[in-house]
């Protein structure tokens, strides 16, 4: 069971990275225009400020 002392911190760390990424995406306004982002991917124009 000593393996737990490695596996648990590793799993928590990975989860925390995911959480940090989610919080960052909220902070940088990535949920403000969900329809727009879905459609912009179809545009062949270079988007120089993708976060809007």
């Amino acid at each position: 069971m000593t393996i737990l002392s490695i596996l648990i911190p590793v799993s928590l760390l990975l989860g925390a990275v995911g959480l940090a990424a989610f919080l960052w995406s909220i902070r940088s306004n990535q949920y403000d225009d969900m329809d727009g982002h879905a459609n912009r991917i179809l545009s062949d124009r270079y988007d120089d400020s993708p976060e809007g």
Partner: protein, 729 residues
């Protein structure tokens, strides 16, 4: 156009194709160093990637525009401008000419709802709760799978270390709301929620300190997570409605033209003072109450009184803010502004009507009123029962906590918001803006519909009925094309595409009619006095010949269908209009409405609705005019077409943005379906409690059973709510 535009040409392959010097010319015309301003335009018709590209490309090359960014979800574009002379109106006109219909939005009104800080905070709490729930659930699975002794204690301690800070942070909205309710000696849904979360976490900590078998950290976190989903859905629904409503409000940019000596200046209505002389162009809205000083015209009072035909007006006649000047330029003196205008007086009637209205109790609040005391009593009883039976405080506390957790109102907290989010999303796609969830519940109960006539059942413009043929028709067409008067516009619309007669010297005589010369003889189109006819109506005089015209009122698209549908559904329909008895009776007969009232004032409209409410009727009022606003406020639930006056749109519970008035019927069907889903969800939740509570009280509820029961009931109610995504037949 930022400094990037000056970068070496070859860096961007697309720029290589630009003609020599194009880039320099494009950037040279932009004055550098000007203060940046942001302006917002509404783009109601954009829908795809090509639209985004088209709008952004077009705006980017406009001189004075430094950046443009389309938001497709909100159908808006935010433009950053560095040229102080560029106005939002100009940009909107330019965009409309290129094929993307654009409307100017009042940026001050929009700014209030633009940043959704509360929504972001809720989403962050939801994310943190989700992260913690998943991790603790993983650790709990290990415990359920059979971890023992030191391993179990270790897993429990790690769970506690994750759960406590997260519960403190993520559950904050519930604690605040519960505290506020308790301080006012009330019980709301958040009181049992808070108690369940805090007790579950606290008791589990005590258990873990004594190396106990059962810890409910996962249950406390799952509760927080599911309930936050409900809270977030609820917030999204309200935020979407608020943003749509503020967009409607921002569309009215209120300005007036003030006469200052020899010059005319456009100023905001707020900046006007009593005694100012104002110029009102034909076709413009009158900005203030006061007498006409100079000029003659026809005044359209439909928004204020519901009268469908305009009245002639001249010097000395009183006009009010909200009326529309049709035919001639007017100079008026502002006598009443702000608080003294007719609009403000109607607003006071609205306040009074809202104050007199019975407070509506939401279905969810009714359920909580029954539910919250029941839960606490059950939990207390299990505690007392077990303590008396076994004398073991720890067991008794554990079972009491298990009862609280298992009965925690997940279904209530999630069921109602998920149904309302699904229903208002569906209504939004249909073209109905719902201001709050209560409106949806109230609409399902309606048994009496009161309809306004002008602008609600009929269009604002009259419709051509009969008139002369041949030469006279062509002459009338030519005359009518020159005027903004609704009757002229009706004739012009009827003769659309035909060749008008060659006439010269067209003169408009405001309040009377039009005159011109046709083949050397004078012709006149106008009222009886102006043309020398003996009977009332609109006449065309050519030499000695008189030709009469008659008009009817065009029914709005779907009006007949809607009235028939409402009656079929067993609702009583009343037509209530400020127009003349003759016009009202005509429309009532066409639509087959037996119960109609003409010549209604704002006061008598309220009186009628309050009378119906006193008889126990639940009244839906549909109206668009300023004279309807007080009645809209007095009714159980109210709707306004999107074309309505700003005042009535802001009072109405729902705004019909789509073109057809049959939306009233369709919205009612959705409301009834939503109510049915909510009741079903309550039944599901009760069924689940009936099974789970005895198990918990008997002491058989392990954390594993609690986790399964809670998740499955939450998923059941959410899936049931999602069935509303399609329009009911």
């Amino acid at each position: 156009m930022t400094d990037a535009a000056y970068a070496p040409r070859a860096a961007c392959p697309a720029c290589v194709g630009l003609p020599e010097g194009e880039l320099e010319r494009a950037t040279a015309s932009i004055p550098k160093g000007g203060a940046l301003r942001r302006m917002v335009l509404s783009l109601p018709d954009i829908h795809c990637a090509a639209c985004i590209d088209g709008v952004e490309r077009f705006l980017a090359v406009q001189p004075g525009v430094s950046a443009a960014r389309v938001n497709l979800s909100l159908r808006r574009v935010t433009v950053t401008v560095d040229d102080p002379s560029l106005t939002a109106g100009d940009l909107a006109d330019d965009l409309t000419r290129t094929g993307y219909r654009a409307l100017e939005l009042d940026s001050a009104t929009i700014a209030a709802t633009e940043t959704d800080k509360e929504g972001k905070a809720l989403l962050a709490r939801l994310g943190v709760a989700g992260f913690a729930t998943m991790n603790v659930m993983l650790l709990s699975v290990a415990v359920w799978a059979g971890a023992t002794d030191a391993t179990r204690d270790l897993l429990h301690w790690i769970s506690a270390a994750i759960a406590f800070p997260v519960i403190a942070f993520a559950g904050m909205p519930f604690y605040r709301s519960a505290f506020a309710a308790l301080r006012g000696w009330r019980l709301n849904m958040d009181v049992p929620i808070t108690l369940a979360i805090v007790l579950a976490a606290g008791l589990s900590l005590m258990e873990v300190r004594e190396s106990g078998h059962h810890a409910y950290f996962d249950a406390a976190l799952t509760l927080t997570f599911f309930l936050l989903i409900g809270r977030y859905l609820d917030h999204r629904t309200r935020a979407a409605a608020r943003s749509a409503a503020s967009e409607l409000a921002a569309l009215d940019v209120l300005t007036a033209t003030r006469i200052e000596g020899d010059t005319r200046k456009t100023v905001p209505v707020d900046a006007l003072r009593t005694g100012d002389l104002l110029f009102v162009a034909p076709g413009a809205r009158i900005p203030a109450d006061g007498p006409i000083i100079e000029g003659r015209s026809d005044i359209d009072r439909a928004m204020l009184t519901g009268e469908s035909l305009p009245d002639p007006a001249g010097p000395g006649d009183q006009v009010s803010a909200g009326m529309v000047n049709l035919t001639g330029p007017l100079t008026i003196r502002a006598d009443a502004l702000g608080d003294d205008t007719l609009l403000r007086q109607i607003a006071r009637l609205v306040d009074a009507a809202e104050g007199a209205k019975n407070k509506y109790t939401l279905l969810a609040d009714k359920a909580v009123g029954l539910y919250a005391p029941g839960v606490h009593i059950l939990s207390a009883l299990s505690f007392i029962g077990w303590y008396v039976a076994t004398g073991d405080l720890r067991t008794a506390l554990n079972i009491a906590a298990a009862v609280l957790i298992i009965t925690c109102p997940c279904a209530l907290g999630l069921a109602v918001p998920s149904v309302q989010a699904a229903a208002s999303g569906l209504l939004y796609r249909m073209g109905v803006l719902v201001k709050d969830g209560a409106a949806l519940e109230k609409l399902a109960e309606v048994d009496h519909v009161v309809l306004d006539k002008t602008g609600t059942l009929t269009t604002d413009l009259p419709l051509y009925a009969t008139g002369p043929e041949g030469e006279a028709r062509a002459v009338a067409h030519a005359l009518a094309r020159a005027s903004l008067h609704p009757l002229s516009r009706a004739i012009a619309a009827e003769c659309e595409g035909e060749a008008p007669a060659p006439i010269t010297d067209i003169t408009e005589h405001p309040g009377e009619g039009l005159s011109a010369t046709y083949l050397g003889q004078p012709v006149r189109l106008g009222n009886a006095r102006f043309t020398g006819a003996t009977a009332e109506g609109l006449w065309l005089r050519m030499g000695k010949d008189l030709h009469p015209f008659t008009f009817t009122h065009a029914l709005r698209e779907g009006a007949a269908e809607m009235v028939a549908g409402l009656r079929e559904a067993g609702l009583h329909v009343t037509l209530l209009s400020g127009d003349t008895a003759e016009q009202t009776a005509h429309i009532a007969n066409t639509l087959g409405i037996a119960d109609w009232h003409a010549g209604a004032t704002p006061e008598s409209k309220i009186a009628l609705i309050e009378g119906l409410s006193a008889q126990g009727r639940r009244v839906l009022m549909v109206g668009d005019g300023i004279n309807d606003t007080a009645a809209l406020a007095a009714a159980h639930v109210s709707m306004s077409p999107g074309s309505a006056a700003e005042a009535s749109r802001s009072v109405a519970d729902m705004v019909l943005v789509g073109p057809s008035i049959t939306l009233v019927l369709r919205a009612r069907k959705v409301a009834i379906a939503a109510r049915k889903r909510i009741v079903e969800n309550f039944q599901l939740a009760s069924l689940y409690n009936v099974i789970a509570v005895p198990v918990a009280m008997a002491g058989y509820c392990s954390p594993l059973i609690a986790a399964i029961a809670m998740s499955s009931s939450s998923i059941c109610v959410t899936l049931n709510a999602l069935r509303l995504r399609r329009e009911p037949k």
